[in-house]
Amino acid sequence: MSELPDLRKAMAESLPVYEAPAALRMWAIEQARAADKESLRDGQPPTSVPWVRTRSFYKWRTAAGLVIAAAVGWGAASLRPVGGTTPGISVTANELVDAHVRSLLPNHLLDVESTDRHTVKPWFAGKTDVAPRVVDLSDKGFPLLGGRLDYVDGHSAAVLIYGRRLHKINVFVWRSTPGELPDRSSAVRGYSLLHWTRGGLSYWAVSDAAEPELEAFRDAYVQ
């Protein structure tokens, strides 16, 4: 019995700690700054906030449905210097696996659920500075399930989600850094990772599917 975790540990291992969705955070910062401006102008704290309750935020919400960028690693990632020519593969790989596992928690997988690439691709526009290649690979056994935004290892990532039988493949996409080494693959905690760069973008595919399947996926995707 002594090897059972205590409640705190069990909860920490089981329950997600959330980060506020990026759009909500940006909206809150705007609110704070708007209030600053108003209070400076009036010389006193604002009694009410302009009810901007931004339409764009709601539009985003409607479109996005469920955005959760969980807190795990966020603080650490944002404090660490980002980029450079020697990206720490183990850190990145670990965070990618965390993000993948997190995405499998209820309601975390998809912000936009669509098997239609013409829906998924425009959805990313304006939400991220990368425009990942979105293709449906159903005929090759990798149906497109949808997309998501995430924040991994200091990168705002566009994430494409593909299915592989009962497995999910998360494809994280962000701008590649100069000197980034392509084609690394690794296995972390039983998950497979495959990395490639193309067109100035860095792609990481993460899945609990076996590595050869990931390679088959990459080959289908980059064609």
Binding site: Y18, D36, L79
Partner: protein, 189 residues
């Protein structure tokens, strides 16, 4: 310079408006507020709405913040929004999550590998927390997941510390009933 955000001292010493104060003092706790809202509303859309409403209220009431605990202050607002606007208080054990409603797929006879059984344990912990009544759920989430002190929980939930301790104790007892075989509850069980 990295400051411990939880210990932001002496929040409003001067009467004059100080640009950027809200952003640096309250917004670091946005994630904590969203997390609490997620566990209270159990619904991403409601949690986002609640936090949004809480931010608007927090901006408005920021000049009244004299406490040095901005996190507890912001969580108090988030919680109040959740309870008043999103009917969290109407929830009880009768609300069973979709996950919890299904059959428990824990097969005790055969544990193929440690990873699978760990996932099953995690699901059971989530289900158990989910089934707690809101007042017990928020107490245990604030305490064990968000690492709040008893005093902070008392502030956030607006009850005396004694009530907080009693709720935590009841929460642990309820959880122990559901999870005694996978979690070590010490004396509680």
């Amino acid at each position: 310079m990295v400051r411990h955000a939880d210990k932001a001292p002496d929040v409003r010493t001067a009467a004059a408006p100080q640009p950027g104060r809200f952003e640096s003092i309250v917004l670091p706790h946005l994630g904590a507020g969203f997390t609490l809202a997620m566990y209270l509303t159990r619904n991403t859309a409601d949690a986002e709405d609640a936090v949004q409403e809480a931010v608007l209220r927090a901006v408005r009431y920021f000049p009244t913040l004299r406490d040095d605990d901005a996190r507890a202050w912001f969580l108090t607002i988030v919680r109040r929004v959740c309870f008043t606007a999103y009917g969290t208080h109407h929830q009880g054990t009768e609300v069973i999550s979709i996950d919890a409603a299904g059959p428990q797929l824990v097969d005790d006879r055969d544990q193929p590998d440690a990873a699978t059984s760990r996932l099953q344990v995690q699901q059971r912990v989530r289900d158990a927390i989910d089934q707690l009544p809101p007042l017990l759920r928020e107490a245990i989430v604030l305490r064990e997941l968000q690492d709040c002190s008893y005093t902070e929980i008392a502030t956030v939930t607006q009850v005396p510390v004694g009530t907080v301790m009693s709720r935590l104790s009841r929460a642990r007892t309820r959880l122990a009933e559901m999870l005694h075989d996978v979690v070590d509850f010490g004396d509680v069980a």
